[in-house]
């Protein structure tokens, strides 16, 4: 099918943590990494991390990271061998991938044909159905009109989900509870889909009650060999976007893993799929699973699979793209321990998870045992409204799920961000919640258990120190007791005065 071809220079068509993730793989493989950057990103960390960098014009995603002409022109100019799309942006855009292929570059991902077959949600549902893989009830074809949607929704019964055919990452997705809501949700989903994917086709499916969201990672080479790397549990979501993921899933046993894995591999083979991909399933309370969609790219949450399998998925992607056969058979894949990921978004969990913008005045990431940080920013960076609000991912590992959770709590306690609000306190809430710790939760966990007042409760123990510190800061500003607070490093005065007894805990 394909012959082997080296990648010596790779263009990374993305920004933030995922661009840096790919750059790191390049460094470890001796590949020259070439970055792109929009105007506001010109001094960003991914530009600094890359070997070379080329400017894109403009500020908005559309003008920059979605600008196909410009990106292809840079690929020519920089004489790269291949393009890596990361996730989001152009990663699942079939016509872009086709142009990349036609221009003679390798694309680090599936072929445009496979993306069209599986990346399009409606086409993927058709394929799954044809293979006898259970799917969620709903339309197979995209909706032609709002009216058609209302009719189908009424037939299968509310609540329903409107989803972007080209979608992913929760964008262009809306839950509709009743006929009255349909019209506004339909238009918002269309408009979001158009903005995010440049494709406003949407479809409708039944909204499954209390499901778990479990996905299977697959890897396929250019020679028809496809394996799966087990599952990721992704039920902890806010606004239909994942925020905490883990592998293995607390509800998946060997038998279910095998069944879901086989279905995933079958679907990928049917579509002639190569490279890394993910099949998303809903799992109901009786452990029945339903094909949901396929993400034809690297997932945000790929690190949890990397940690439990020991396989570097980005390096595997690059090797596959170079025409290497997969070095593993299914039986070579072994799972060790438990891995957990927390996504640190610039969002305000007290205010409906609205994006939070500003300057990262303070930005300290965690370190230490069993902690991996995939981070895209540094102190002083500006978080603007132009791009996805994902700042970093914290991934932890444990010999048990309990240990992975305790390590995550410890790691998040070390992650200090000042200047924007983040999902850190929210993740801490989840990690301490009994249901989560017991492993018994579904995709409604957040809406059922979380509110801003839960954060107040969790932070109760910090209120007294906050009160006293606020007075000390206040008096230092108002210069009432200036000598008290701003003890410069190197001065011993306060120190000397302080009695040892001060340190005795109450």
């Amino acid at each position: 099918m394909t012959t082997k071809r080296q990648i010596k220079r790779l263009l990374i068509v993305n920004r933030g943590e995922i661009a840096i993730r790919v750059i790191r793989a390049c460094k470890e493989m001796g590949i020259t990494s070439v970055a792109l950057f929009s105007e506001p990103d010109r001094t960003s960390l991914h530009v600094q991390a890359a070997d070379e960098a080329y400017p894109l014009d403009g500020v908005s995603a559309k003008e920059s990271y979605l600008n196909q002409e410009k990106i292809l022109r840079i690929a020519e100019q920089a004489q790269v061998d291949a393009l890596h799309p990361g996730y989001g942006f152009l990663s699942e855009n079939g016509s872009f991938v086709e142009r990349v292929e036609q221009a003679g570059f390798l694309f680090v991902g599936p072929s445009s044909r496979a993306i069209r077959a599986m990346g399009d949600k409606t086409s993927a549902r058709r394929i799954a159905k044809s293979l006898g893989i259970p799917i969620v009830e709903g339309t197979i074809e995209p909706l032609n009109s709002e009216r058609e949607g209302v009719e189908i929704a009424s037939k299968i019964g509310f609540p329903v989900l409107i989803k972007a055919a080209a979608g992913g990452g929760g964008k262009g997705m809306r839950v509709v509870q009743s006929v009255e809501e349909f019209s506004s949700s339909f238009r918002m989903a269309q408009s979001e889909a158009r903005n995010a994917f440049d494709d406003d086709r949407v479809y409708v499916e039944k909204y499954v009650q209390n499901p778990r969201h479990v996905e299977i990672q697959i890897l396929g080479d250019h020679y028809g060999h496809v394996i799966h790397l087990g599952e990721r549990e992704c039920s902890i979501q806010r606004r239909h976007q994942k925020v905490i993921e883990e592998s293995p899933s607390p509800i998946v046993d060997d038998k279910l893993r095998r069944a879901m894995g086989e279905a995933a591999v079958m679907a990928a083979k049917e579509a002639g799929y190569s490279n890394a991909g993910t099949i998303e399933f809903l799992v109901d309370a009786n452990r029945n699973f339903y094909f949901l969609e396929m993400n034809t790219r690297l997932q945000v949450e790929h690190p949890v699979t990397e940690w439990v399998t020991g396989i570097d998925l980005v390096k595997a992607q690059l090797q596959i793209a170079m025409g290497e056969p997969l070095p593993w058979k299914q039986e070579d894949i072994r799972f060790t321990g438990h891995a957990l990921e927390s996504r640190i978004y610039a969002e305000d969990p007290r205010n409906n998870f609205f994006p939070s913008t500003g300057t990262l005045h303070i930005y300290t990431t965690p370190e230490g045992p069993r902690v991996r940080v995939d981070n895209g920013f540094r102190k002083g960076d500006l978080i603007s409204i132009h791009y996805d609000p994902l700042l970093a991912k914290v991934v932890t590992f444990g010999s048990s799920r309990h240990e992975a959770i305790e390590t995550m709590k410890r790691a998040l306690s070390e992650f200090i961000v000042g200047g924007v609000r983040t999902t850190i306190p929210f993740c801490e809430f989840v990690l301490s919640h009994e249901e989560f710790r017991a492993g018994s939760f579904d995709t409604h966990f957040v809406s059922r258990t979380f509110s801003a007042s839960e954060l107040d409760r969790a932070e109760q123990g910090l209120l007294l120190p906050a009160i006293v510190a606020s007075v000390l800061l206040k008096t230092s500003q108002g210069s009432i007791l200036p000598q008290l607070n701003h003890v410069e490093k190197g001065s011993h005065s306060l120190w000397k005065k302080r009695r040892e007894e001060t340190y005795r805990p109450s």
Binding site: S470, V471, V487
Partner: protein, 176 residues
């Protein structure tokens, strides 16, 4: 002279009296503390022997519209607190100002982030209930619906469709 402060936030007001360089009385309970500035402008704070890391976000230029002159925004072990700190003079001043202010209760909803108002879903004079959609604010590739925080009547709409807004800009005022 006694240094007494009233600190409000999180549905609570405490009275804080600074005694000396290492003790403080909060709501009649005495606590020992030390407060040490680090090279990066953050503080190491010990209260009754427990250590906390403190970041003074206000001094770093972060200030929410609502906080005002007497507000402090700080991180305590990474958790953000917005508190109002008044001394007895500023409290007196405030209460005087308040008694002279008109008593009509209205609340102004402000933009939680910079963005583009893409649609306004209410009109002036309209009755609104808690949770009703007021307008759509587009930012970070998402359309976010700003919802009504409490029951009332729309008194004023400060923006139009396609208005770009800054964080903290007034959007809509609701009257009870």
């Amino acid at each position: 002279m006694r240094k007494v402060f009233h600190v409000s936030g999180r549905k609570k007001t405490s009275q804080v009296e600074l005694i000396d360089d290492n003790s403080v009385v909060v709501d009649n309970e005495r606590h020992s503390y030390s407060f040490e500035r680090l090279a990066d402008g953050t503080f190491m704070f010990f209260l009754d022997g427990r250590g906390f890391s403190i970041v003074d976000l206000r001094s770093m230029g972060m200030n929410e519209g609502e906080i005002g002159e007497s507000g402090e925004i700080l991180l305590v072990d990474g958790h953000e607190f917005s508190l109002t700190v008044d001394d007895e003079q500023s409290l007196l001043l405030k209460s005087l100002l308040q008694s002279q202010a008109p008593s009509s209760a209205s609340v102004t909803i402000r933009a939680p982030m910079p963005g583009l108002v893409t649609k306004i879903e209410v009109s002036v004079g309209q009755q609104v209930n808690t949770g009703d959609g007021l307008l759509i604010l587009e930012a970070m590739k998402m359309e976010n619906e700003v919802r009504c925080p409490e029951k009332g009547t729309v008194k004023e709409i400060h923006v139009g469709p396609q208005t770009p807004v800054e964080k903290g800009s007034p959007l809509i005022t609701i009257e009870h």
